[in-house]
């Protein structure tokens, strides 16, 4: 994004609306910090700029990678879905993507609202690769992996985005290794991340992963997403 200095009247609406605080008023003119800007386009769509000073720029590689990981309108070429994730459990009643003995994980780096540089993805993917997880192939993050060790393209590591979701599944008996890795990475990462855990619900209502989460010292929030099984092939 860019703000035309010759048009800006310094009303500050774009400063307020920027989710990553990348816009500041300098001498009463709004200026975008290009390092912090994640190319989410929220300022252009929602600041109601009276003088149309906020403009999209044609982005070059590697900066162009910021947009699909930040702009909710931007549809990622790999997933065909607006946003940063995949169908994951939303259609599991049809796809059986997560079987009864499997646990899915969604680790969203930079959420809620702090943002991240893409290099943080490697903190997780190199560790998870050694555990032997099965990465979701349709995930935008999977498209960034360049080898079987969980490394990503070097030239994109410094690019800042609003968030990046690592989606994968493991057999239930390997979930403990993932939980332990999360605890280790939490100590070294320079941003925040959220963790979601996906499980089929047994016919008796049991959720097999719950005991393990408690044993490992994780708290489960009282709200969740529930697929109620109405989908049909």
């Amino acid at each position: 994004m860019e703000i035309k200095a010759d048009l800006c009247i310094g009303c500050g609406q774009c400063v307020i609306i920027c989710p990553v605080q990348a816009i500041k008023l300098i001498d009463n003119i709004a200026v975008i910090d290009k390092t912090l800007c994640v190319e989410c386009s929220i300022c252009k769509r929602n600041a109601d700029c009276l003088v149309n000073a906020i403009r999209s720029r044609r982005l070059k590689w590697p900066r162009v990678i910021r947009s699909p990981f930040s702009d909710v309108i931007s549809t990622h070429k790999l997933t065909g879905i607006p946003g940063r994730g995949t169908e994951e459990m939303k259609t599991n009643d049809v796809t059986n993507r997560f079987g009864v003995d499997e646990i899915g994980f969604s680790i969203e780096i930079g959420r809620p609202g702090v943002g991240t540089h893409l290099g943080n993805i490697e903190l997780f993917t190199t560790k998870l690769t050694s555990i032997g997880v099965n990465f979701e192939r349709e995930s935008p993050v999977s498209a960034l992996l360049i080898d079987d060790s969980g490394h990503i393209k070097k030239d994109i590591k410094e690019e800042r985005v609003l968030s990046a979701i690592i989606e994968f599944k493991v057999p239930l008996n390997k979930a403990i290794l993932v939980l332990q890795a999360i605890k280790q990475i939490e100590k070294t990462i320079d941003t925040v991340f959220t963790v979601g855990v996906i499980s089929q619900v047994m016919k008796n209502g049991a959720i097999p992963i719950l005991d393990l989460l408690t044993q490992q010292g994780f708290s489960v929030r009282p709200n969740a997403k529930v697929n109620i099984g109405l989908g049909k092939v």
Binding site: T91, G113, V226
Partner: protein, 197 residues
């Protein structure tokens, strides 16, 4: 798209915050000739049950997902019952309090198929805004609502320059998915601006 999963808040607040999402599986049941019609029918059903927010109508025909927000679990039950009757075969995901969803599903004769649990936030939590502000900003899971816009509108409310209702409407604008709950935002803004503590 874990965008409705990590909403924060106290249990009492979350009792008035449910999102229903409808989706067809890519390459499987979205390929049938009547697939789009079925998704549109779900959108109509959601719209007929008094959502406080819904994905904008122009997007119904082009979006692969349909989303709507409700403040009452009874409305959610009505939606489920209609969907069971019409047997559209579209996958339905409900976000909200597990205990309430469990009860609603049981009452309508269904069982939970798959659950996506939230373990919350990890890492440098000192970078986050206050819990009260997060309760509002996390209602847009793509984080299009900035913490400073919440503070800005709280100050405007306090100085009488905007009504709480209009402030909630302004805050919901960047959320294009229809999952920001403006009714819950009004209650939270009232608390933040000291109108009701």
């Amino acid at each position: 798209m874990t965008h409705s999963l990590h909403r924060t808040g106290k249990i009492n607040d979350l009792k008035s915050d449910y999102i229903i999402l409808a989706m067809l599986a890519a390459g499987i049941n979205d390929k049938y000739p009547d697939a789009k019609q079925k998704l549109l029918r779900v959108a109509e059903i959601l719209n007929q049950n008094n959502p406080v927010n819904i994905i904008p109508k122009p997007a119904w025909k082009i979006s692969p997902v349909i989303t709507a927000t409700f403040i009452d679990i009874e409305m959610v039950k009505n939606v489920i019952q209609t969907l069971i009757q019409e047997d559209l075969g579209v996958s339905i995901v409900i976000s909200g309090l597990i205990s309430e969803i469990q009860e609603a599903v049981k009452e309508t004769g269904l069982k939970m198929h798959t659950i996506h649990l939230s373990l919350g936030t990890f890492g440098r939590k000192e970078l986050l805004p206050s819990e009260e502000i997060l309760e509002i900003t996390t209602m847009c899971g793509h984080h299009c609502v900035s913490p400073q816009s919440v503070k800005y509108y709280v100050e405007l409310i306090k100085s009488g320059k905007i009504s709480v209702e209009n402030a909630a409407k302004k805050l919901s604008k960047p959320c294009v998915c229809g999952i920001f709950n403006p009714t819950r935002a009004i209650a939270l803004l009232n608390k933040l601006s000291g109108i009701f503590s």
